[in-house]
Amino acid sequence: MKFRTQRFLLTASALFTAALVPQAQAQLAPPIQPTNPAVSKLSAIYQSVVRIEVATQVPDYKAPWNSGRYSGGTGTGFLIGKNRFLTNAHVVSDSKQVVITMHGSARKHLARVIHIAHDCDLAILEVDDFSSFEKLPYLQVGKVPKLETQVRVIGYPVGGDRISVTRGVVSRIDFRPYSHSRADQHLVVQIDAAINPGNSGGPVLQDGKVVGVAFQGLTSADNTGYMIPTPVISRFLKDIEDGKYDHYVSLGISEFPIFNPAMRKVYNLSEDDPGVLIARVMKDTPCDGILKVGDVLTALDGQPVDSSGSIEIDGERVDMNEIVERKFAGDKVKLDFTRDGKAMSSEVTLKPFPAAQIFSVQYDKRPRYTIQGGLVFQPLSLNLYSALGISNPRVRRLFSKYTSENIYKTRKDIVILTKVFNDPVNRELAGYTGNAVQSVNGTKVTSIEQLHSLLNPEETPEFFVIRCDGLNRPLILPGKNINQINQRIRQNYGIKEASYLGK
């Protein structure tokens, strides 16, 4: 929960604590029986909506040498194919055990995560033994619901154990952040039915078909819920057809809207001309070498891009990235742009941009670290950033300019001195935590693995001279007896492993 934005209430994560409270409340209101015939008719497919209980072990970025915090929660999922349950990624992230229960049954079925896509907050589960589910219908994925139409949210939210149904109206279709990864923006549909903790991963139905997966709420507003709409679901399902999930692809550019008349004049745009300004092009991305800063992007795949960077899809105005969103690695996209008033055109092959992962919350991964002389070093990630509340402006700068200033090209990891285990060897160094390590004995630090080898050379130097960004006083560790010192520190502080550098 620590990593999530204030605005969004991620439903599964909040449940675990919330579910402990409302025992008394549940007795106040009698369970609602579906008396409406339309509801009764639909209820056949409620059978395919299951409750998911998860035991998690969440890595502690503040203490990466520890195994993590045991926790858990519940969410919802639904059957979409033979032994294929769809749910939210955040329901089953960092899970150690997943258990599925059917509506009206007490039996717990052990399940596994088959595919998980943190960037679009979706996951596929399967149970060890599907026989009990054989007769259940599969939910079909429908279309994007129209504004003002009614939808039904099914799930197991807080406030009781049985299935819950709420109705709402589609109130907005927008391109919004997905709070699970914190870095991704995709299409979302906002409905006025409250989506509560436990609803996560549940289907949103219209005319008996799935039009979305309930996934997040808004804590600053009442009666707003968000669901993942079908284009995102379909993309996910198509992506995993080959047996593995690839990341979303991106153009690797940033745009600036051209509203200002003076700016339009400079770029030779009349009032009605389409196009958005290219403000940055990242290295090693599809558009690197194709687009330049100052180009005006006028169309994507022939769809005109307006001056705010939007396009029209199915009668709705959405961010132009929606075109790229629906494509996969290796797909092509056609760019129309003007450069110095001259119309140009190009086709680029899309690929993911791994460096941008630094801005995404990481799950199901053990934090990497290395410890030398009681100094703990960790690579910068959004998880670490949030866990430590990094305030050093130099480090903040390195982080936020990591992709836009191509820092990742020379520093695969921004390595941070995160903690100092007090020991005579590092007396006076505790005040330097939170700094980024620039070099060790004159060699620039490029990654945590490389730093680890710099700090554990075959021949131990007299001193390890560790220099940090923006700090003129180097941090000095003696080479002499460093192995004994390390052993002493590990023993004193109960550290099992001196480093974890990834698989």
Partner: protein, 485 residues
């Protein structure tokens, strides 16, 4: 006992309270600072009351806090019956001292009739002093205190450290009482700068600092205290010492940063040098030296408190394990691109079509709230921490501080708090240069503004901007720019 008699006698002898021994006046000032978020206007004025000590012919000593951003200063007799408008003749914000004078010939005569308070000899630890307050009815209120220690601290402007006495006294805490004199045998020993009623401890600017200030101001041209222009870290870390090749007999402080154009830079002192000695005083590994009067004192007092601007001193350094001596001429520091304070200065600014341009100051960053050190824009914070990375070709750091939505700034509403690199192709070292650069838009009648931002170049229509600016003036903005501080 003897002491009380003196004061009481003095009091009953005069109707307008002027002690034969202690000539103290009330100081009442109206302070008004600029509104940093709208630099063309000032904030609501407020009042600050304190005391001043007559220390010479028409010279009244008080703290800089009493006069910083003052629009009106008035002296009053202890009983409040006579009021005298005053002006500032010298002020040192760093040392927190100011010298006032009356303007009107009649008033000057009145003040000159008061016997100036002499400066005490520098105090010693354990000496008894008296804290002098005035009650509402004009009665003096004296509290005995003991000098328990000395410390080199900053009392008004962050980062400027001066010798202060630490006095233990059960002083009565009175509201709005700035600048309370501390006396020794009816002579001025210090000026109170802070008081903790919980610990009953007060800090007072030491006699030698006051004395140096008065001496400097005597010729009417105040210069200020010298500065070496370095920042240091201690060398108590054994491994660090080993790497620096410091012997156990040596102390030393490691130079972390050398300010541009500073006394240190001119003398060839470099980052990475270790200061072992200043003149004849050895600096220990925590940055202290042994002073005759006060015992252990922080080394910066050797520069700022025992020398005046223009003095030459010898500094012994350790560089790469070798001792070397540098002759240093102590000067006033040249202001960096982000000034350490802006008291007594009007912020320079320019409004262009709705863009507000300012020079970056710490007061601007403080607009981002109590936790500004983590919330303010990181590039600006980084510039504050590492001016050396930003100062090339610049006198100040000009920023586009905010964008007022207008016809001219459509589409730019979100741009704010970003460093301006060029305007119409010209470098921007300060606001006057910016004002000049905006005089020549491109041939197409469009201004080009280059920023250190996600969007590197933005454009502004010169004609639309002028129209908007005329509207601003109509709406009551006093001026579109200020080029003098």
């Amino acid at each position: 006992m003897k002491f009380y008699l003196t004061i009481l006698a003095a009091f009953s002898a005069l109707t307008v309270w002027v002690s034969a021994e202690v000539s103290v006046l009330r100081v009442s000032s109206t302070l008004q600072s600029y509104n940093i978020s709208q630099p063309w206007e000032k904030q609501a004025p407020y009042n600050r009351r304190g005391l001043g000590v007559v220390i010479g012919k028409n010279q009244i000593l008080t703290t800089a806090e009493m006069v910083a951003n003052a629009t009106f200063i008035e002296l009053q007799t202890a009983d409040g019956e006579k009021s005298i408008p005053a002006t500032v003749i010298a002020v040192d914000y760093e040392a927190n001292l100011a010298l006032l004078a009356a303007k009107d010939p009649e008033d000057i005569k009145f003040i000159e009739s008061m016997k100036p308070v002499e400066l005490a000899t520098p105090s010693k630890l354990g000496e008894t002093v008296q804290v002098f307050q005035i009650e509402d009815n004009g009665m003096p209120l004296l509290t005995n205190g003991i000098i328990r220690g000395t410390d080199v601290v900053s009392t008004f402007v962050d980062g400027h450290f001066f010798l202060n006495y630490e006095i233990k006294a059960a002083m009565q805490s009175a509201p709005n009482s700035f600048t309370i004199p501390v006396l020794k045998d009816n002579k001025l020993a210090g000026l109170l700068t802070s008081y903790s009623s919980k610990d009953q401890l007060l800090d007072a600017t030491a006699t030698e600092i006051i004395s140096a200030f008065i001496k400097d101001a005597a010729d009417g041209k105040y210069v200020g205290f010298p500065d070496l222009g370095v920042s240091i870290v201690r060398t108590s870390d054994e491994n660090f010492r080993g790497w620096l090749k410091l012997t156990d007999a040596q102390g030393g402080v490691f130079i972390n940063r050398v300010q541009r154009n500073s006394s240190a830079e001119k003398a060839g002192i470099k980052v990475g040098d270790v200061i072992l000695k200043v003149a004849d005083s050895a600096i220990n590994r925590r940055g202290y030296y042994t002073s005759k009067n006060y015992g252990e004192l922080y080394w910066s007092h050797l520069i700022r408190g025992t020398h005046v601007t223009g003095d030459e001193i010898q500094i012994t350094l350790l560089r790469d394990g070798i001792e070397l001596v540098k002759q240093v001429k102590l000067e006033r520091p040249i202001e960096g691109i982000i000034p350490s304070h802006t008291y007594g200065k009007a912020p320079r600014y320019m409004i262009k079509g709705g863009f507000v341009f300012q020079e970056l100051t710490e007061s601007y960053l403080k607009l981002f709230g109590d936790d500004w050190k983590s919330r303010a824009p990181m590039t600006l914070l980084d510039a504050l921490n590492h001016p050396e990375d930003y100062e090339k070709g610049k006198k100040r750091l000009v920023i586009l501080s905010r964008t007022i939505p207008t016809k001219a700034t459509i589409g730019y509403e979100r741009i704010r708090a970003t460093i301006v690199t060029k305007v119409n192709g010209q470098e921007i070292p300060d606001i006057p240069a910016l004002i000049k650069a905006f005089k020549t838009p491109g041939e197409n009648g469009i201004h080009t503004i280059e920023l250190d931002n996600d969007i590197e170049k933005i454009y502004l229509d010169a004609e639309t901007a002028s129209k908007v600016e005329a509207e601003f003036l109509q709406q009551g903005l006093p001026a579109l720019s200020r080029d003098k501080e």
